[in-house]
Amino acid sequence: MNILIMGCGRLGARIAMLLDEQGHSITVIDTNASAFRRLPEGFRGRVTVGNGMDGTALEKAGIQSMDAFFAVTQGDNRNYFASQLAREVYGVKRVLCRIYDPVREGIFRDLGLETFSPTSLGAGIMVDMLLKGAVPSKGS
């Protein structure tokens, strides 16, 4: 798959690494070039400096040929905005976004986005750890 990741923070860089390892074609966009240092050595994907909320920057990153888009910057509203831009304007089939605020996450999910809230998920896991002694799996 051609995959565009907006935001090269810890989560974005990690997603990029995992999908790159699985042989997908990855492009990472971030407003700050120094963020790309988080990508692992030997990362085969492309990086581009730009604002993912800007259509021109998305086009430069090749949004038109993307099969999937991840919006994982620190800002909930930025992630939502860029996700809708990718979906509504550029017709990207799979659009996944991180939303910290659980309330907003629910609203955006109802509007049809594939959302993920580390806040509500993390809280659930940590409560389970305390009460059930459940140890979360590390993921692949």
């Binding site: 909320m53 800007d54 021109t56 800002g75 909930d76 605020d101 907003r104 955006f108």
Partner: protein, 224 residues
Amino acid sequence: MYVLIAGGGKVGFYLAQELLQSNNEVLILEQDAGRVAAITEELGENVMHGDGCEATTLDAAGVARADLVAAVTGDDEDNLVVCEIARSRGVPRTIARINNPKNELLFKRRGIETTISATHAVLSQIEQELPTGEMIPLLQMHSGLELVEIKLPETSPVSGRSVREVLLPPESLISLVVDPGGVPRIPSGDTRLNPGDALVVVTRRESSPLLRQALIGSTHGLDT
């Protein structure tokens, strides 16, 4: 009518003032405590401290009974989110101020009414002199035409030329020339253009990079 306004900047403030004068119920949501205090002094208790992008804040402001929500902050992404949450709470009409005209399409697709902030363009012009070589969008017209203001820099390729000699993109028209002394003139073909002149030009939205090139000269900004 009950109108909720997200963003207590100049646009939000004057909008609230107008709406209050015509006997509407108005509440401004503003994040900055200092700004809240300033607005309270002018407009009374018609302002609430909080983030309009938070559903809980909107709920506390009684969003469910609002007839209209206007999102007029300086950030388009925040304005989009305010309108989306408001609609999810059943608000019949939402209007967003768009700061970047390129974002109009997305708001349209989301079914949100938009307004390019001409108020803002005009206000910022009154407050600070337009830097030369800038092109400021003043008004978007539904026909796909746009009204922009351009101040001719010293290096303008058209300086010293008459309007007739200037080659503009198709369907573009210099409709007003304001000289550095502030005197406005409707130009004829013989009107000479000089550095420092501010031109109000009608153009096609997609032609604006060409227009910039023709009047300002530098290709800088062509790809923005």
